[in-house]
Amino acid sequence: MAILCFGAGLWVTGFSSLRDFLPELLRGVIVTVQVTAGGAVVAVVAAFGAALARLYGPKPLRWFASTYVEVFRGTSALVQLFWLFFVLPHFGLTLSPLVVGIAALGLNIGAYGAEVVRGAIGSVGRGQWEAATALNLTRAQALRCIILPQAFVAMIPPWGNLFIELLKATSLVSLITLSDLAFKAQQINQNTLRTAEVFASVLLIYLALSLLITVAMRALEARAARGLRRGRVG
């Protein structure tokens, strides 16, 4: 709460000339939010897919998932972004910068997310699996009804951090000509040369968006943890 007020306070005491380029910046914010939201969906899907594949899949699938995770974690987001943007056309696949951005960043964060999901599933006590077996549930049923709901709560804080990383990474799409917040910042800076104000405002906007994500994840955790005495204490 304190952090939120601090952020909001900074935001309010922003520069008066903020009003001049605020509309432009907000247009950039919309794109940033689009990429973040789209990327988040891709990341979650990829993470769960890869984690489950590595845990329970047949050998070739496991190998594929492991390669995906190692490659996307081992190279930087910018390299991945550029690769998809510059190289895919050569394979005949020309995608809009927005789709490239969402795909590259989503897959990048998804690779880290796969480890989070694996860890969370692993953290559910053995006893739960044994109870499920005793009740004659199949592994898929046990996962769906018993294990994942519990793993879900443990996953939320690390996912919160990953989503913030995703938000920050969206600034990279400005380098593939997407008009997000970072792009607008550069643009306005070049037009008005009010460098300090522009970049300071942009930093504050990112901070506010980060805080929003943190608050949303805390709320999600609180709801998910109802009835389950897991998750963060205090």
């Binding site: 952090i3 490659v71 550029f82 938000l167 920050k168 970072a182 300090a196 970049f199 930093l203």
Partner: protein, 224 residues
């Protein structure tokens, strides 16, 4: 109809990229040294400083961790000259990387410091050791070894973010790849080579960090 992958071109590009990789490594190491130092100062400031310092440092760390490195790089590069501080792109980049990862490292240090048992502080007070001696000889030697792997992970992360310096025209790997690509309109080879370089480095350093972790946990002075 151009080929998808031209080995000849890749072979040509290699030496140029190899040269650029030296710049990348330099930026990484210098940035990491800054990050380690800044991070430790942040952590100690939050732990042992007066109230106002703790709040300020806490706010700064949160701010840095919640905003994109790209914007921070731009900020330093474009804004610092307005305050009379004009530095080369490389120096600006190193400082930006150092501050950004310093904020992350400070959290790692804090966890390490918090893990040192309270009794160690009390024994130091009982023996009348000064704050400086206590940190230097008692606390830090116990706080740092367990967190070296985490610090190592941030070294790798920092390394992977050096391509961001290309936006302020530092001639590291990504920038060189882009220049090569724009000259020949063939981006596949340079960018793939760059990607491969990062991948290999990541895997090697991950293995090294695991070995380091095992080595640190095996020495006799470790507490049970």
């Amino acid at each position: 109809m151009s080929k998808v992958w031209d080995w000849g071109y890749a072979w040509e590009a290699f030496p140029l990229l190899a040269e650029a990789s030296i710049i990348t490594v330099k930026a990484t190491l210098m940035g990491f040294v800054v990050a380690l130092t800044v991070g430790l100062l942040f952590a100690i400031g939050r732990m042992a400083g007066p109230m106002w310092l703790r709040w300020t440092v806490g706010g700064v760390v949160e701010f840095i961790r919640s905003t994109p490195l790209l914007i921070q790089i731009f900020f330093l590069y474009y804004v610092m000259p307005e305050f009379g501080l004009t530095m080369s792109a490389m120096v600006t980049g190193v400082i930006a990387l150092g501050l950004h990862y310093g904020a992350y490292c400070s959290e790692v240090y804090r966890a390490g410091l918090a893990n040192v048992p309270k009794g160690q502080w009390e024994a130091s007070i009982a023996l009348n050791l000064s704050t400086w001696s206590t940190f230097k000889n008692v606390i830090l030697p116990q706080a740092i070894p367990p967190v070296v792997p985490a610090l190592g992970n941030y070294l790798v992360a920092l390394f992977k973010e050096t391509p961001l310096l290309s936006v302020i025209a530092v001639l590291e790997l990504m920038q060189t790849a882009k220049i090569l690509g724009s000259e020949t309109f063939r981006y596949v080879e340079p960018i793939t080579l760059v990607g491969a370089f990062f991948l290999v480095f990541s895997l090697v350093s991950a293995a090294l960090i695991r070995r380091l972790e095992r080595h640190l946990n095996a020495s006799p002075g470790r507490r049970i």
